[in-house]
């Protein structure tokens, strides 16, 4: 029963979404299924939040390594929750000025807005900025000319890197004959991105699309139940 009911729900929801894609009459069914998912996801947020707090409280109570960070995590979690739920710093909506909590929760200048703008945005930007260093280390490893394929990759990447910058234009400025202009790195970059790169990407995309259909059919037909913990 524990496995059968979720399986039936998955199959029915899958077929509803499939039919809704082709039959205009059933368009609303797909939207309803999506709304049900959103309701479930909101309910699950409580589950996730509860799990987060439980794990960190256990860490604090057991004074495990790094328990101080757990205090910071729980403090931030509860603080943000209070600022968001009670709309601290949010002015009442102009239409309902007498209703205290009628304003938009992310109103400019509000507490939650401040947390978002001055804490979450800089922190996520910092994490994103680290990508630059990781790209450098990954490129250093990937572009080592160990064999023919790696050498080809190195040369292609070099052309594209230069072609994407002004150096690609500057290197060939003034001396390359008109008939050889296609050899300029900026022109070669356009060709590499438009022809071989697009061809490769499309090949992968077609494979992915077929894989998605096959996996969906396996799930819809109940052949693949491993996501429920069954083989």
């Amino acid at each position: 029963m524990k496995r059968t009911v979720p399986l039936i729900i998955a199959i029915v929801a899958g077929f509803v979404l499939l039919i809704a894609n082709f039959i205009p009459f059933a368009e609303g069914w797909g939207l309803t299924a999506q709304e049900w998912f959103n309701i479930l996801a909101v309910g699950a947020m409580i589950l996730g939040g509860g799990n987060l707090i439980k794990l960190h409280l256990m860490k604090i109570s057991g004074q495990r390594k790094g328990w101080g960070y757990s205090i910071v995590t729980i403090g931030c979690f509860v603080g943000t929750l209070i600022f968001g739920l009670f709309k601290i710093g949010v002015h009442p909506n102009e239409i309902y000025p007498s209703v205290a909590w009628s304003g938009y929760y992310l109103e400019s200048g509000s507490g939650l807005w401040w947390i978002y703008q001055h804490m979450i945005v800089p922190l996520t930007s910092m994490m994103f900025a680290m990508l630059a260093f990781y790209v450098a280390t990954a490129a250093f490893r990937a572009f080592r000319a160990k064999n023919t394929e790696a050498t080809l990759l190195l040369v292609t990447a070099g052309i594209v890197l230069l072609g994407r910058t002004y150096a690609g234009v500057w290197l060939f400025d003034g001396w390359l004959p008109e008939s050889m202009q296609w050899l300029r790195f900026d022109n070669l970059t356009v060709w590499i991105m438009d022809i071989p790169n697009t061809a490769g990407t499309r090949a992968i995309t077609i494979g992915i699309a077929l894989g998605v259909v096959a996996t969906s059919l396996r799930i819809l037909l109940g052949v693949d139940r491993s996501y429920l913990g069954q083989d």
């Binding site: 205009p24 368009e27 699950a44 990954a138």
Partner: protein
């Protein structure tokens, strides 16, 4: 008092002169209304030809000479119910009422506030910046939104899916008869046992990341199927598995999957639900949490299976720096190069979706893989036909819109791969130059 009244005729004259001088913009023309095709009868399309004093009108060649007071700012669209076929209608709806406004240069609007089966009249006028409106341009006939039984724009998609589904159903049935189907080895999946074994030997955990998408995404489901296998191997070997998740529902599903895997491996007591935990929905906060764990605990094996975005490289490079054996699988083409550069094994696109069938060894599932291969064969065939016609057209015909080849090419592009539906042969668009569809 007498002096003031003597000015009244002068004021009246000036007012009349100003009214006479107020120039209204030229009206739009050719208002055409039609039922939106392939919908549930809940919208109507309204088209009009731009006013002559609309500076965005391509036919208005003397933009600089257009009287500034006549330049169109917006188009006002009004509607009234012509016939409700017996249903009650409010007074407001039975008279002309403004339903929308479109900006200058716009010549189309979709009315999504109509009732199926009712008939409507529409009219459009142009309005300048002074608020002066042109005369109305009425649509020639009423329109009645109706529901179509099938979305014909997706007819070819339905045909492809049906054919593809038949291939899969046939090979699943074929596998049922007991015939062995050969599937090539996928190195990335073969390496999973090796990775878990290594983690067991080193006494370190196995990290499994299911991506950052929710449970309603097919990539997350595909990732869960691999997790099932990894968890069972970990349970058999006695290794610990850590699954941080970015979505609460994924955490709940992953717990079920891992618990069932431990149960089927005969080690239910070794299952630790707290090791499958929720971190945050925020993309980079999740990355910070996972990479922090990786640096602190140094898992011996890191497995990434699911939908990833910019975080893919941060995760894979951190895993690389701690010396973990890494296996990744995703259907995000833009993230594949990062995984290829940083991981030991990468499941590229379709390999990732084949993982479930491959790992299960179930003949029925492997049969579906065979069906997938035949679908691929069909796609390649259509590609080759398209390439043949495209080459023929570019080599032989000066006018790319004429001839059998161009017709066939357009049909493939706009009907089979586009949204023109079944249509008629050669009825598609003919602008081949520069098209990237």
């Amino acid at each position: 008092m007498r002096i003031r009244t003597s000015f009244l005729p002068v004021f009246a004259l000036l007012a009349f002169a100003s009214l006479a001088g107020a120039q209204s913009p030229e009206p739009p023309t050719d208002v055409v209304i039609s039922d939106t095709p392939n919908d549930a009868g809940q919208s109507v399309e309204v088209y009009w030809a731009l006013s002559e004093t609309d500076i965005f009108n391509p036919l208005n060649t003397n933009v600089k000479e257009t009287d500034p007071e006549m330049i169109v700012a917006t188009y006002s669209i009004e509607r009234k119910v012509a016939n409700t076929h017996g249903a009650d209608v409010s007074d407001e709806d039975s008279n002309w009422r403004k339903v929308s406004e479109a900006g200058a240069g716009e010549s189309h609007w979709t009315d999504r506030s109509v009732h199926m089966g009712w008939s409507y009249d529409y009219r459009v006028c142009s309005v300048d910046n002074q608020g002066d409106a042109s005369t109305w341009c009425d649509a020639h006939a009423s329109v009645t939104p109706t529901m179509q039984a099938f979305n014909m724009a997706k007819a070819w998609l339905a045909i492809f899916m049906l054919v593809f589904g038949l291939f899969i159903a046939y090979f699943i049935n074929h596998a049922r008869t007991g015939k062995k189907l050969w599937v090539r080895k996928i190195a990335g999946l073969e390496a999973i046992d090796e990775a878990v074994g290594r983690a067991t030997e080193m006494g370190r955990p196995v990290l499994f990341v299911l991506g950052i998408q929710d449970i309603n995404e097919i990539q997350t489901l595909a990732g869960l199927t691999v997790l099932s296998r990894v968890a069972r191997t970990a349970a058999e070997y006695g290794a610990q598995i850590e699954v941080p998740t970015c979505r609460s529902l994924v955490m709940a599903a992953a717990r079920e999957t891992v618990e069932a895997a431990y149960l089927s491996a005969g080690a239910p007591d070794a299952y630790q639900p707290d090791r499958i935990h929720y971190l945050t929905d925020e993309q980079f906060a999740f990355v910070a949490g996972v990479t922090g764990y990786m640096v602190r605990e140094e898992p011996a094996a890191c497995i990434y299976m699911g939908g990833f975005y910019a975080e893919s490289l941060i995760l894979a490079e951190t895993g690389n720096h701690i010396g973990a054996i890494q296996v990744a699988g995703t259907a995000m083409p833009s993230q594949l190069p990062f995984f290829v550069a940083s991981c030991d094994y990468t499941l590229i696109g379709e390999e990732f979706f084949a993982a479930s069938a491959y790992l299960s060894g179930d003949p029925l599932q492997i049969g579906s893989l065979k069906g997938q291969d035949y679908g691929k064969f069909l796609s390649v065939l259509i590609l080759l036909i398209g390439i043949f016609f495209a080459t023929t057209v570019s080599l032989t015909e000066t006018d790319e819109s004429a001839g059998f080849g161009a017709g066939a090419l357009n049909y493939i592009k706009y009907n089979m791969l586009g949204s023109e539906g079944l249509g008629s042969f050669g009825s598609g668009e003919t602008d081949i130059e520069g098209d990237d569809s």
